[in-house]
Subunit: 163 residues, 2 copies
């Protein structure tokens, strides 16, 4: 399932390709543990079929400016990882594009096999193909090492205001 | 020009309301110094009328999910500040919405008058009105104090991968 233009041919964990299929999110993924997976990274109560379909359609309307990838385990048909990229259109840098990497999660039972890195690299590759000049993400200090392995460098401080 | 539901009635710099009008970006702003202003925060070469109009239309198609505000100086008709908010649609947190605060800049000659804080609070208010559960931003360590004054707290690390 890796495209021929994958960023790093010999990426770590590529050998796990037989066990997991990385592909765009589908409507049937609601019943394959999508919400349970997301709940491992952020509060994410189960969604109704209606709510999931509505958000799915809103994101689909953004075309290639939004992509959710999931990793489905061949043996069980359950989702083992997910992540998203949102392309932001700016005026700076000659109307440049920026990819925002969001909500990356690997199921606790599937960690340590390079699956997260494979997924992140696929999302980064999507942003690159879309013409983004960079991809950015926010993470806790504990995850800096993982993202450094994926090619990211620490740049700035993330601040937040919660309502 | 402050809406009646402004987040903080007695915000710093509110008295500057006579000197500056904060409003959404307009097509005529290309000739009011928009690119020159942006260039103070990021590389931002002048845009052709065609490129500016094309990006403007793309962003307008996002409706209230994208807003660029500018501050126009009454005395000169030039732009003195700008900033943008992009609303991201997620699956986590019951299909929650997140506001991304981007490309905030105040003209060097207009700093120290609370204009940046007024602009940021207006953008935050837009995100709140849109139903976002939080607004996030990335900044250098030097700007943490400014954003703390605007109500933000340091949360995480921002990492980037440049192509």
């Amino acid at each position: 399932m890796e495209p021929p233009h994958a960023p790093v041919a010999a990426e770590a964990g590529a050998g796990a390709g037989d066990a997991y299929t990385i592909r765009p999110l589908e409507l049937s993924d609601l019943s394959k543990g999508f919400c349970e997976l997301l709940a491992q990274v952020s509060p994410s109560p189960p969604l109704s079929e209606e709510a999931f379909r509505a958000r799915f359609a809103e994101l689909a309307a953004l075309g290639a400016d939004h992509l959710v990838l999931v990793a489905e385990e061949a043996a069980t048909g359950r989702l083992a990882a997910a992540g998203a990229i949102l392309v932001e259109r700016k005026f700076i840098r000659r109307c440049g594009l920026v990819g925002h990497l969001e909500d990356v999660v690997v199921d606790a039972a599937a960690r340590g096999r390079g699956l997260g890195e494979r997924l992140v690299r696929r999302l980064v590759e999507h942003a690159r193909g879309r013409g983004c000049y960079k991809v950015i993400l926010n993470c806790t200090a504990e995850l800096k090492g993982f993202y450094a392995k994926c090619g990211f460098e620490e740049r700035n401080v993330q601040m937040g205001l919660y309502f």
